[in-house]
């Protein structure tokens, strides 16, 4: 992909590297946001009375909570994609 650079002095390879970096940064930011959300949600759902450590039932709840949150996330993703497709076909 060695076309003449259209953005000032970037070569084809540099452009590709930049694009990869942007994609990576977006992915990392998205993952961080998701993790923050999950932590908040699962704290609310699983830790009713904070004590001096996380007992086994709380730990189990947290594990289930994270799995269910991701299940939900996948469901939402599908539902949203379908809806967008439906709207775009009107």
């Amino acid at each position: 992909m060695d076309s003449p650079p259209s953005t000032g002095r970037l070569t084809g390879a540099q452009r590709e590297e930049l694009i990869e970096q942007v994609k990576q940064q977006v992915a990392i930011a998205t993952a961080q946001e998701l993790l923050t959300k999950i932590s908040e949600k699962c704290f609310k759902k699983c830790i009713a009375k904070p004590s001096s450590s996380l007992d086994s039932s709380e730990q189990k709840c947290i594990a289930m909570c994270m799995d269910r949150y991701m299940d939900s996330w996948n469901l939402v993703s599908k539902a949203y994609s379908s809806r967008i497709q439906k709207e775009s076909m009107r």
Partner: protein, 72 residues
């Protein structure tokens, strides 16, 4: 350029999903269980669609309200 725009669109899509999941999780899930049951799945799908419907309705009505009030 075009590619950056595509990435931005993809990021926005992800943001929306995060927002919907945030809201619909609270709405549909009381206590985390060992798997998703049908009732919960239906609730989540309905939640996404009804939330979108609500946003559309509010946007329309808000435009009317602004018109009636002659702006702010």
């Amino acid at each position: 350029q075009r590619i950056l725009m595509r990435e931005q669109q993809r990021a926005q899509f992800q943001q929306q999903i995060n927002k919907f999941n945030d809201i619909c999780w609270e709405t549909c899930i009381d206590k985390p269980t060992s798997k998703m049951d049908n009732k919960t799945e239906t609730c989540i799908v309905n939640c996404v669609n009804r939330f979108i419907d609500l946003n559309l309705l509010c946007a329309q009505r808000f435009a009317q309200i602004l018109q009636q009030n002659g702006g702010f």
